[in-house]
């Protein structure tokens, strides 16, 4: 048991949990700080037509006080000179000078609700300190001394003249009896009283007049209601002075002695929110968005003593809180991706591409991001198709696609017009990131007509983008990782666990669902960890990939291989190489380090300079030259590095096998583990596979009995077949010729190239007999489906026997 626990993942988990527990115990206050904070993105745009004159423009800007906080603000004033005039009334921004560009003010505002509980026993004070006296004076629009106001008060006054009851009476009257109406401009107290209809400012003035009449200092407050909208309406309410507090009342929206969290105060007293030079066609708009943000990303100077906050370190570097949140979540999201790939088996374009795309989505919004992603994908794909036609080489082609995408984005911005610069900045990230990861895969898939695969991968990508986006935008996770960075140890532990986990993936449950009855199936995780990494040396894996080298080594050990007629590893030799091709009647061009049969060109006939492929396509020398140059560029290589092209003579299928299918060269895949033959199959090409003996591309796999060399079963796309779908020949019960020799060759190959876990591909030439085409250090697992049984147990026995 203990031994079982002595694993790095357990150690990391224990360390992480211990630190976390210590942290909880040491700083219990941190738990309270986790959580969301509702913020408002407040943006004010002022436009004007200055003509040729200098202008002056003033407006009140939000300021920080007891209940509202300007978290950060930014200003675009163009060429105008900006001054900040802070007074008791409010903070007035003044712009002077000449400019044609609009003024933009942005701020993030956090505000709270405030309620007041006034003791009903409180009397109305008779005297106030001198600085409050002005809030009792009448003004032009608050006609305190008008007899009509007094008369009104006589009618509505409460029985008992206490502070609270007086305020209540005034509030009830102004809220209930005065009808709310969207009046524009200023309404004074008397007008409001007479019309019995008014907007917020009329109601507020009447409130103030009645309160001042009763000797309660009252002042008007102006501001904006913060709600997700684009609007032009501002709001006014009142504040009454009660024992050192300015208690808010809103007679329009019925807030008695309370101010809701979404009220933003801008100025005090009866002021105009905007004042500007005459006749400049002034216009303004408030653009407000509500947003939840993880509080720890924003507030570091917590009174409760955040002794460590990872986000604060990032903020010191000037990283914006959103970016900091994403940064802190990268390891976690990477864990999600590794989980999705290794446990679920979801396929995506590029491994960490969904992470990057979803990070960009955080800035642009999910749907915008997704649309952008698909747009880029489509552009890349269409571009690929177009450039393919004109036979561009790989790297310039990618460059051209990037240009295409950039043009597309410029077009989008022109159409969309106003977008915040942030979004623009992030959008430009898309082409680079995505194209470099995806476009190539995409083009390969489309070239191979592998539509199913393409669809699955695209869906996988979208699912992963969604999941990653959800993780990135999780407030809980953001705040947790900021305040408890030791959680990263747990993430690490999970990552290590997944790295050591060798169970069957969910996708493999689907793939091997027919054969997994005995629970004996070997999954990719297990293959990689227990066999490839354990038994196969890196150096030998490299050797297996390099086919020319492999052939040399095999030849030295007396294993028969096809002859290498010529090879070409650089453009310098290209012309010479292509010229040489004319001499052959039939041949095969192969990329040295290709995989899955990609890039293999089979020429069956040389029709006086025109080359005919297996499927009857006619190619000119130029076409072949292009193909070879693509191979040299590394277009078909597994790692994308520059590659070597080589030619082999066209092998003639042995009649014993060609009686099954004559569409191309079949081959026999034998899996060996430590000199023991585990499994073998015969791969027969179909029309769908374009003459290639590759199961992914649609070839038929025939299971071959190891002892006898008889084909036993055939599965093709999950169905059992008795005959070849194209030719109709019987395919079951066929004896593979030279079977014992083939087994011998396979074993010898493993001796020559001592990979512990090896797949040897052997084909049988009519004249030359069995020959090793290539060896594979990471043979696929589809053979289990062909054999209709898993070989996990056999592999284990073979592994442990040596």
């Amino acid at each position: 048991m203990l031994k079982k626990l002595n694993r790095p993942s357990v150690w990391f988990a224990v360390l992480g949990l211990a630190l976390l527990a210590l942290h909880f115990w040491w700083q219990p206050s941190h738990v309270k700080q986790l959580g969301a904070e509702l913020l408002h993105r407040y943006s004010l745009t002022m436009t004007f037509d200055a003509g040729n004159e200098d202008i002056v423009n003033r407006t009140y800007l939000p300021l920080t006080n007891d209940r509202q906080e300007v978290v950060n603000e930014s200003l675009q004033s163009g060429t105008l000179e900006f001054t900040n005039d802070e007074s008791l009334v409010g903070r007035q921004g003044i712009w002077t000078g000449f400019s044609t560009t609009p003024i933009r003010y942005n701020a993030i505002i956090s505000s709270r609700e405030q309620k007041y509980d006034i003791d009903p026993e409180l009397d109305i004070p008779t005297d106030y300190p001198p600085h409050l006296k002005r809030w009792l004076e009448p003004t032009d629009v608050i006609q305190v001394n008008d007899p009509r106001i007094l008369e009104l008060w006589m009618n509505i006054q409460p029985k008992e003249r206490k502070l609270l009851s007086t305020l209540r009476a005034i509030h009830d009257y102004t809220y209930n009896e005065i009808e709310g109406a969207p009046f524009k401009g200023t309404t004074d107290a008397i007008t409001t009283m007479i019309l019995k209809r008014a907007s917020c400012n009329g109601k507020s003035r009447l409130f103030a007049a009645l309160a001042r009449l009763n000797g309660i200092p009252t002042r008007l407050v102006g501001g904006v209601i913060l709600e997700t909208a684009k609007k032009k309406t501002s709001h006014q309410w009142v504040e009454a002075y009660v024992q050192g507090h300015w208690v808010p009342f809103d007679p329009l929206n019925d807030h008695f002695a309370q101010i809701p969290h979404h009220y933003l105060e801008l100025y005090i007293d009866d002021q105009a929110l905007f004042s500007h030079t005459r006749n400049i066609n002034f216009d303004y708009i408030f653009d407000i968005k509500r947003e939840h943000i993880a509080a720890p990303l924003l507030r570091f100077d917590n009174d409760e003593g955040a002794f460590f906050n990872a986000a604060s370190l990032l903020a010191k570097l000037g990283i914006e809180n959103k970016t900091a949140g994403i940064f802190l979540l990268f390891p976690f999201v990477a864990l999600l991706i590794s989980f999705a790939r290794n446990v679920f088996g979801i396929k995506t374009f590029g491994i960490f591409m969904p992470m990057l795309v979803s990070a960009a989505c955080v800035y642009t919004g999910f749907w915008m991001g997704l649309i952008g992603f698909i747009g880029v994908l489509l552009t890349a794909w269409l571009g690929q198709m177009y450039f393919d036609k004109h036979k561009l080489l790989k790297i310039p082609r990618l460059a051209a696609i990037i240009t295409l995408n950039t043009i597309l984005f410029i077009g989008i911005f022109m159409v969309l017009g106003e977008q915040t610069p942030l979004q623009m900045g992030m959008m430009t990230l898309f082409p680079v990131v995505i194209i470099s990861f995806i476009a190539e895969r995409l083009s390969n898939m489309t070239q191979d007509n592998n539509w199913g695969e393409l669809f699955i991968t695209s869906m996988g990508s979208i699912v992963m983008i969604t999941v990653c986006y959800l993780a990135f935008s999780s407030i809980t996770l953001q705040s947790f990782f900021a305040l408890f960075p030791e959680t990263l140890l747990l993430v690490m532990a999970a990552q290590i666990f997944i790295g050591q986990w060798t169970g069957l993936r969910i996708s493999e449950y689907m793939r091997f669902k027919g054969i997994n009855k005995q629970n004996n199936t070997l999954g990719i995780n297990q293959r990689n960890r227990d066999y490839v990494y354990r038994l196969n040396e890196r150096k030998l894996l490299q050797l297996a990939i390099d086919k020319i080298e492999t052939k040399k080594v095999l030849l030295q050990h007396g294993v028969p291989v096809p002859q290498t007629l010529d090879m070409c590893d650089s453009f310098r030799n290209l012309d010479e190489f292509v010229e040489h091709l004319k001499d052959f009647n039939s041949f095969v061009v192969k990329p040295n380090r290709g995989s899955q049969g990609n890039g293999i060109l089979v020429i069956v006939k040389n029709d006086e300079g025109t080359f005919v492929t297996t499927s009857g396509k006619r190619l000119s020398l130029v076409d072949i030259r292009y193909h070879v140059s693509e191979i040299i560029t590394g277009n078909f290589a597994q790692d994308g590095q520059p590659d070597t092209a080589y030619i082999e003579p066209l092998l003639i299928e042995h009649h014993g096998i060609s009686k099954i299918a004559n569409l191309g060269l079949s081959d026999i895949r034998i899996i060996l583990c430590n000199q023991k033959i585990i499994s073998c199959m015969l791969r027969v090409p179909t029309k769908l596979s374009d003459g290639k003996a590759n199961l992914h591309q649609g070839a038929i796999g025939l299971s071959v009995d190891i002892e006898t060399g008889m084909t036993t079963k055939c599965s093709f796309k999950g169905k059992e077949l008795k005959t070849h779908p194209d030719t109709g020949f019987d395919i079951v019960g066929v004896q593979v010729p030279f079977w014992n020799k083939i087994k011998q060759i396979a074993e010898n190959s493993q001796k020559a190239i001592p990979l512990g876990y090896i797949g040897v591909d052997i084909c049988i030439d009519e004249k030359l007999g069995p020959m090793v085409l290539e060896v594979n250090g990471r043979p696929g697992l589809e053979i289990q489906n062909v054999q209709h049984k898993g070989f996990s147990g056999e592999m284990e026995t073979a592994r442990d026997n040596t």
């Binding site: 007041y116 969290h261 939840h292 407030i475 169970g503």
Partner: protein
């Protein structure tokens, strides 16, 4: 290895299930969090329970806060009766339980039969009893013995900390409050007391934090208190702007608290942007809010004193004395203020009336008395004694008085070596500088003096005194225009002051601006119609510009104001004789000598007039009378010598001798007068005081101040006058 053959460990679906569970958990938390809208605040506005605070209730001083026990405390007592508590207290007060463990204390008879918990409750009640008896040490020892579960409750924890702080166990108290606040972060009284304690322990930085916290947790009156004390802490840290801000905030919550207003005034005093008027207004507010408390009045008066407004300060001190007459501090400052204003008699009287002074104060009082009695030797002795003291309570007051002494004695050494540190002091700083400037003026270091005076005048543009000295010095240094501007400014600021006006007039006279001098004196006389000196000056000025009738009228008025004022009469006689009206002059002189037959100057003049008129008999007889009064009288001797033969021969050579004779007696006379004055007092002529007192015994202190303050200058100008005449 015996590993099973097939796949083992967690399968993918299991892992997915785990992941799914985690995700669901996360989603639930996330959902809850998204719903959280920023916490609102509820502010309760209660009825202000401290309406009586405008009157002297100790509660607006910064006492530790003791909240009234909440009703639930009483209800949950069960069978714990008052008697049990009383018995326990009795038993405990008889024994020394400080070294006993809790279970031994539990064995007290009165506690028998109670459960463990109830025993502890009784003990806590007993501790409260000790607390209200003022036995703080017993209180905290007892509570400290209680088990943690009890001690860490709200009330025991609070009283434990409170008793510790009252017992001056500051460090332990701080820790106790910290613990209390960790357990009960919203216990308002604890939050405030913690801050107060830190303030007491002079840990102002920490106190600032504590009060900031207290502000967040408290409401109503306590909030005001928190703000005030936060301001206090800032004040102590020297952050006056911050302090003033907090005091204003506190006033917003509790506008009737005199202490806060006072603190605000003190803070404003330190901030240059507040003008004198604003500070004074704040002081006034504080004084008016607490009609029975002396402290605001005293502080206000101190401020006035420090701003060199001695007359107003005097009223302020009177107000402070009225509120609480026995405070030594007030009386001391009052007498010093009188001293500064030159009202020696009053200073003496006040100083003698001080009771219950401690040693240091006693010495100061002695010094003040010596100074006001013009007993400078004694003053020096006292000063030396005080110098010997290692630590002196009112060091700055002493420094100021010592400086004053040095100035009156024109002690150049002391002035040269003066420690300028005293100039920075908030109370005696400016008065010291003024005194220093005056000292420099007297020791004739005009340049240096002017520098000092200019700074004073610049910094205290509202102080007439400052401008006065500055103006005098500027005149001395030849800056006539600037000097007169300063004097005029001083006069404009404080036209009621006799002293300012008189010096202004005198200087004008000196610089031959006779008409200006007359104008000013006329204005002066509007306020002080019985000012003889001014009248005489006026007469002189009139005489200089030839308005002899007016001059005569002025002299006559001066004489009529006070029958005993023979000097005016003499001056009048002299005027008449100069004008050639010998007969008139003789009549006046006769009248004069009838009142005081020993007035030498008058006799000399009479003798000369007679001689001049060649009535040698009368002349000689007058001279002889003179000699009888004063054997060595040169004038008389000369006259006798010269005219003895002329009586027979009637020599024709009279003119020269007459001129000589006229000159000499005059000098004598002025010298004589000076020596007279010197006998009675050095620079502050008593005669002036008495002049002011005698004609109008009810005359306001202000006037007398100004007069007495003027004295040295007066004399100087007098001297100058005579010099001029000599020329």
């Amino acid at each position: 290895m015996t590993t099973p053959k097939y796949n083992k460990g967690l399968s993918a679906p299991a892992l997915c299930a785990i992941a799914l569970l985690l995700t669901i958990g996360l989603l639930i938390i996330e959902r809850n969090e998204r719903e959280v809208i920023n916490d609102g605040t509820l502010i309760q506005i209660d009825v202000d329970d401290s309406s009586s605070e405008s009157v002297d209730s100790g509660s607006d001083d910064d006492e530790f806060d003791i909240p009234a026990p909440s009703p639930e405390d009483q209800t949950s007592q069960g069978d714990i009766t008052e008697d049990v508590v009383k018995e326990t207290v009795l038993a405990l007060s008889e024994m020394d339980f400080s070294k006993k463990v809790l279970w031994r204390i539990h064995r007290i008879d009165s506690l028998k039969g109670f459960s463990e918990v109830d025993k502890n409750k009784v003990l806590f009640k007993a501790a409260l009893q000790f607390f209200s008896n003022g036995d703080y040490e017993k209180t905290h020892t007892l509570i400290g013995k209680l088990p943690r579960s009890m001690r860490h409750q709200e009330r025991p924890g609070f009283y434990y900390a409170l008793a510790l702080s009252k017992d001056d166990k500051t460090e332990r108290a701080i820790r106790a409050y910290q613990g209390q606040l960790e357990r009960f972060p919203h216990h308002q009284a604890s939050a405030i007391n913690y801050g107060l304690l830190l303030n007491d322990a002079k840990e102002y930085e920490k106190a600032v934090k504590a009060f900031k916290y207290a502000i967040n947790t408290t409401s109503g009156r306590r909030k005001a208190k928190s703000y005030r004390n936060l301001g206090e802490a800032y004040y102590k840290l020297g952050k006056y702007e911050e302090a003033a801000k907090r005091f204003s905030k506190s006033i917003e919550y509790q506008p009737t608290n005199s202490t806060t207003w006072l603190s605000l005034a003190e803070a404003q005093q330190e901030i240059p942007k507040f003008s004198q008027e604003e500070v004074l207004e704040t002081y006034d507010k504080s004084v008016s809010l607490a009609p029975n408390r002396y402290k605001p009045a005293l502080k206000r008066a101190n401020y006035l004193f420090s701003q060199l407004m001695f007359a107003k300060a005097e009223e302020g001190y009177k107000e402070a004395r009225k509120r609480s007459s026995d405070i030594v501090e007030t009386a001391l400052m009052q007498s010093i203020n009188y001293l500064a204003a030159g009202n020696l008699e009053r200073a003496d009287k006040i100083a003698s009336g001080i009771k219950q002074a401690n040693n240091d104060e006693e010495q100061l009082i002695d010094l003040i008395k010596a100074l006001s009695d013009e007993d400078y030797d004694k003053a020096e002795d006292t000063a030396k004694e005080i110098d010997k003291e290692k630590k002196f309570d009112n060091e700055e007051l002493y420094q100021y008085l010592r400086l004053k002494l040095a100035v009156t004695q024109q002690d150049k050494n002391y002035l040269g070596k003066l420690d300028k540190g005293i100039f920075e002091h908030p109370v005696v700083g400016w008065p010291s500088q003024l005194e220093y400037a005056r000292g420099l003026l007297l020791t004739e270091e005009y340049q240096e003096a002017q520098k000092v005076a200019e700074t004073i005048a610049e910094k205290l543009p509202n102080s007439a005194e400052a401008h006065l000295v500055n103006g005098q010095l500027q005149l001395h240094n030849g800056e006539q225009v600037a000097g007169f501007n300063s004097l005029k400014h001083a006069f404009n600021i404080y036209p009621e002051s006799r002293r300012v006006a008189f010096i202004y007039a005198k200087e004008s006279f000196k610089f031959e601006r006779y008409q200006e001098a007359i104008d000013i004196i006329n204005k002066l006389l509007e306020n002080h119609s019985k000012d003889i000196e001014a009248l005489e000056l006026k007469a002189q000025a009139h005489h200089e510009i030839g308005q002899n009738d007016l001059a005569r009228a002025a002299y006559t008025e001066a004489f009529e104001l006070d029958e005993k004022n023979l000097h005016s009469a003499f001056a009048l006689a002299k005027l008449e004789s100069d004008l050639g009206n010998k007969q008139e002059s003789l009549v006046i002189l006769k009248d004069l000598l009838d009142r005081d037959s020993s007035y030498i100057g008058a006799r000399e003049l009479r003798a000369e007039i007679h001689c001049e008129a060649r009535e040698y008999d009368e002349c000689i007889s007058e001279s002889k009378k003179l000699l009888a009064l004063d054997k060595d009288n040169e004038v008389a001797k000369k006259l006798v010598e010269k005219h003895a033969d002329k009586l027979e021969e009637k020599a024709s050579d009279k003119e020269g001798s007459k001129e000589n004779s006229e000159e000499e007696p005059k000098e004598k006379e002025s010298e004589g007068k000076e020596s007279e004055e010197k006998e009675s007092e050095d620079k502050k002529s008593k005669s002036d005081d008495s002049k002011a007192e005698k004609p109008d015994s009810k005359s306001s202190d202000k006037e007398s101040d100004d007069k007495s303050n003027d004295d040295d200058d007066d004399k100087k100008s007098k001297k100058n006058d005579s010099d001029k005449k000599d020329d």
